[in-house]
């Protein structure tokens, strides 16, 4: 497929916009037109507001003209349509979390990342589908229908940020934002042949992100290249006085930092955790990842095996911590102030029971019940407290490994995209999809998934690179050094 506007990366589009070869309105029209064409097949969006997006684009063109006149600097994201996962607040737009609970809810305020994107001049485009309240790995848990994988419409795009990944892959957005609690950015990125980055915990403000598991959630970008991911990350990072868990730390210029590292000719030391290549890893995925590791060796990187011995406890600890936090975080959805309110409740207690029974889907209920259980009096020490200890051990595993290596390389997902319905009846099998990504959240580390090949059947495969805390620049540089040597990202889906 020839590269249309809607398929180009930010780096190229921002140049075209700067040179006046295309206007933001023209770009937005191209994306909107593409969306109208493919959206019936992909269903990446829960809602679209084309009129609003075109108005934003017109305002962007006006800003650019004014900046040109005054000589002011223009951000690389000026005029770039960026899709937003429907769990991140945009003032005046629906905020549904793909749940019946919030089917008609319109948020009155901007999330901090939304404010930052708008300040950079980006166009907030549409509300992207997800697993209900970001709980799932396939978008099948959405109350508004499953998103299709653009590379095979019979298959899932991954999740929970399935809409965010599919939209960028399908040319319905130039980049997008997702959220990652246990792999919800990296896994769908891998399944949709795009770049997905989960920043270090505390790098990006969570204010305005509907909380699933507060100590694990982090917002991050989906993009067509490592450079684009770095650009979006730069725009949304930084301390926020509205989020006490966001760190007071200088935000580096990621792209310049990457360029400097490249110039320095630094040879990376990469660790391959043996625990990530065992049972359950699809052979084709394993082979593609090994090939990518071989590329790194060719680049002169030092590759060595490392051990993350507590990996086997990660999924268990994760599902205790995440569900405990979600059981409390989702308590606010009670039908009293906003959201779904049962029509035939008889008293306050009945209002809670009926509104929540009607408003939440089965996976959300399952996790609320599990989380309520593990926090209950008499069980807290055995479950929650122990899981927190495991979490500390897992973080220690990583920090121990980082004494020997700069980054860790693994598969992102044990399998390529699976068929819709294939795992829907088996929650445990679904949970195991996140086996390689969960540890990163538990340890608060940055992680990225980049395209590293295709299966014989044409399904994308992702490579996960895990960085050291707050060393996103190094992580991005490691990712780009591989990305530069292949063309996987330009293999667009046929739609």
């Amino acid at each position: 497929m020839p590269q249309e506007l809607f398929n180009k990366p930010v780096t190229e589009l921002s140049g075209m916009l700067a040179r006046g070869e295309v206007s933001a309105v023209e770009l937005m029209r191209s994306v909107a037109e593409r969306t109208r064409k493919v959206e019936p097949k992909v269903h990446a969006f829960n809602s679209l507001d084309e009129e609003d997006a075109l108005a934003q684009a017109a305002a962007s063109d006006a800003r650019r003209a004014a900046a040109k006149a005054s000589g002011a600097e223009v951000h690389a994201l000026e005029g770039i349509p960026i899709g937003i996962k429907d769990v991140i607040s945009v003032a005046g737009q629906p905020l549904t979390a793909s749940s019946r609970m919030l089917a008609t809810f319109v948020s009155p305020y901007d999330a901090t990342v939304t404010t930052k994107l708008k300040a950079a001049g980006a166009i907030c485009w549409g509300r992207l589908n997800l697993d209900e309240f970001a709980m799932g790995s396939s978008t099948e848990n959405s109350a508004f229908g499953v998103t299709s994988n653009p590379y095979d419409l019979e298959r899932v795009p991954g999740g929970s940020s399935g809409g965010s990944a599919a939209s960028v892959a399908a040319g319905e957005a130039i980049a997008s934002l997702g959220s990652d609690t246990g792999g919800s950015i990296r896994q769908p990125a891998a399944l949709c042949n795009i770049v997905g980055l989960k920043p270090s915990y505390g790098r990006v403000s969570r204010y305005g992100l509907i909380a699933f598991a507060s100590s694990l959630d982090q917002i991050g970008p989906f993009a067509r290249s490592v450079d684009d991911a770095a650009t979006v990350l730069g725009a949304i990072s930084g301390h926020d006085r509205r989020d006490s868990t966001s760190l007071r730390m200088e935000v580096p210029d990621y792209r310049r930092g990457m360029d400097e590292l490249r110039k320095s000719g630094r040879k990376w030391r990469l660790g391959i955790p043996k625990e990530y290549f065992g049972e359950g890893l699809d052979p084709e995925v394993g082979a593609a990842v090994q090939a990518a590791i071989a590329e790194y060796t060719k680049l002169g990187c030092e590759v060595r095996e490392v051990s993350l011995p507590h990996t086997k406890y990660a999924v268990g600890a994760y599902y205790i911590i995440a569900t405990a936090e979600c059981s409390s975080n989702l308590a606010r959805f009670d039908g009293v102030r906003y959201g779904h309110r049962s029509k035939d409740a008889t008293d306050a207690l009945d209002l809670y029971f009926k509104s929540r029974a009607e408003g939440f889907g089965p996976e959300v209920k399952r996790r609320i019940i599990l989380g309520t259980y593990v926090l209950s009096s008499g069980y807290y020490d055995a479950y929650y407290l122990r899981a927190q200890k495991v979490r500390t051990l897992i973080r220690r595993d990583f920090l121990e490994a980082y004494k020997q290596v700069d980054a860790i390389v693994t598969p992102t997902s044990p399998t390529p995209a699976f068929r819709k319905g294939e795992k829907a009846a088996n929650p445990l099998a679904m949970y195991l999809n996140d086996i390689y990504t969960i540890g990163v959240n538990l340890a608060g580390l940055p992680g990225i998934s980049i395209p590293c090949g295709f299966t014989g059947g044409g399904l994308p495969i992702g490579l996960q690179i895990i960085g050291q805390p707050f060393k996103e620049t190094e992580l991005l540089a490691v990712a780009r050094s591989y990305e530069e040597r292949n063309d996987w990202r330009n293999r667009f889906p046929t739609l």
């Binding site: 948020s107 868990t245 308590a331 606010r332 926090l375 929650y384």
Partner: protein, 481 residues
């Protein structure tokens, strides 16, 4: 059998901060419903709490004033329960690591008479922790409405050890606690505005028994008197139950101060499992010694320490200090007037009698009073040196209170100055003596009261403006010649 009572009080005190505990929206009372809200207060999806440092400063100050140990880290937990007045359906609170532990409140029990100081004792505290207040439910017909104005207001929970032994002690405890909170600028503790709320855990046991009896929690004690009455009522109720062979059931009871009765709200079986866990949205805050010391340096003298000092330093009666001390501002006012006048007791009398009466009658706060300590001191001096008589001084005070003029100016304007023309006084006295030889004889014969016979004519001649003390002295001197 005789029984003794064991009471523990849980007192909730709203902190006097400009904004709420975890967001910047204003805290306040009496505003139209749901106007002191924002996305955080309403727990809209995606919102996060951010700690109000002023609230932490204030609870640390409270802890320092009460002699508590201040924790090195302020840690936050979630207390999970569903209730429509709680927007998140969890309350951010402190569970296993309260910011303050230990400490005590010095109380004064009622004395044998109003003008005699009562016994002092210390009520030990278990802990003080910080949390957020909930909204308010207004139950109407067929529907209940929620007002979230109060939701998220910083709230301090002060838990006493079970060492309070009577309803009077409980009353004294609350009074002392309130005074300290007001002194520290921590809270106004206005119960009518819900700024102070009290629950009591009450049990009885036979005298001499070590083990505590089964406790009953009494709620809705919404005035200090209701606390005293409710506790007294509960002690009587428990005693009656036990004496008739019954058993106390562990429960929560609701006290109705209007009718003086209580009824069961819920039993222990219905107790909540709050599923406490550390709030992942709030990082623990380190409270280092520099922070604590900077707060300590702003701590005022404690009320009872002040009272002991006033008694000692100014040698004023207990009754004056017991009026002054509950009001720190009034105490400062007194000390200033005492210093300027050099006559603490006279100044104290003016302040505790006349000033408070006029302030009360005109509903004027002390800070807005036109009569300042210098006015009081000036008036004290004028009375002291005989320039003005005490009846006239009362009139001058009221005039000053309204005009704000200094006493000398009022005096000059109203012509209330005492007669000071000594020549006239000498003459009037001499004339009175000359006109009444019988009384002269009586006086010289040892009849002291005969002196009064001369005073009437002198006062008449002076048109009431003579200083009785000076008239007395002059008559005695002339009669002795």
């Amino acid at each position: 059998m005789t029984y003794e009572t064991v009471i523990g009080l849980e007192v909730h005190v709203q902190l006097k901060t400009r904004s709420k505990m975890f967001t910047r929206v204003a805290a306040g009372y009496g505003h139209p419903e749901n106007t002191l809200t924002d996305p955080v207060v309403l727990a809209l999806p995606g919102t996060l709490p951010v700690m109000n440092k002023d609230a932490l400063d204030k609870i640390i100050k409270a802890g320092l004033l009460l002699g508590c140990d201040i924790a090195p880290v302020c840690k936050w937990d979630r207390k999970n329960y569903f209730y429509p007045d709680s927007p998140k359906n969890y309350q951010i609170s402190q569970y296993d690591q309260p910011i303050c532990r230990g400490g005590s409140v010095e109380i004064e029990l009622p004395g044998p008479a109003r003008n005699v100081m009562g016994e002092h004792k210390r009520i030990a505290l278990t802990r003080i922790h910080l949390e957020e207040d909930v909204g308010k439910l207004n139950h109407g017909e067929g529907a209940s409405l929620v007002d979230f104005n109060r939701a998220g207001t910083p709230l301090m929970e002060i838990v006493s050890e079970p060492v309070i032994q009577s309803a009077d002690e409980a009353f004294a405890y609350l009074t002392a606690l309130k005074t300290i909170m007001i002194y520290g600028g921590i809270s106004d503790c206005d119960m009518e505005k819900g700024q102070l709320r009290c629950d009591a855990n009450i049990s009885i046991r036979p005298v001499g028994q070590e083990a505590l009896g089964t406790k009953v929690e009494l709620k809705n004690l919404n005035s200090f008197s209701f606390v005293r009455d409710g506790i007294a009522h509960e002690i009587r109720r428990q005693t009656a139950v036990v004496e008739s062979g019954g058993k106390i059931v562990q429960e929560t009871r609701d006290y109705d101060g209007q009718t003086g009765t209580s009824q069961s709200l819920r039993s222990k079986e219905m107790a909540h499992d709050y599923r406490y866990f550390p709030d992942p949205d709030l990082m623990p805050v380190e409270v280092d010694s520099a922070w604590k010391e900077s707060i300590r340096s702003g701590c005022p003298e404690l009320p009872f320490d002040k009272q002991r000092r006033l008694l000692e330093q100014y040698q004023v009666p207990y009754t004056i200090t017991s009026v002054l001390v509950p009001d720190g501002e009034l105490s400062d006012y007194f000390e200033e007037a005492a210093r300027l006048s050099g006559k603490p007791q006279a100044a104290g009398n003016w302040i505790t009698n006349d000033l408070l009466r006029e302030l009360g009658a005109s509903k004027t706060p002390l800070s807005a009073s036109k009569v300042r300590p210098a006015h009081v001191a000036g008036l004290v001096k004028l009375v002291e040196d005989g320039t003005i008589l005490s009846n006239a001084a009362k009139e001058v005070f009221i005039d000053m209170f309204h005009s704000g003029e200094m006493p000398e100016a009022v005096l000059a304007r109203k012509g209330l100055k005492a007669e000071t023309n000594l020549e006239d006084l000498e003459r009037w006295c001499a004339e009175a003596i000359a006109a009444n030889s019988k009384s002269v004889a009586d006086y010289k014969g040892g009849k002291e009261s005969a002196l009064n016979a001369f005073k009437g004519p002198v006062m008449r001649a002076a048109k009431g403006k003579a200083d009785p003390k000076r008239v007395d002295e002059t008559l005695r001197r002339l009669l002795a010649q």
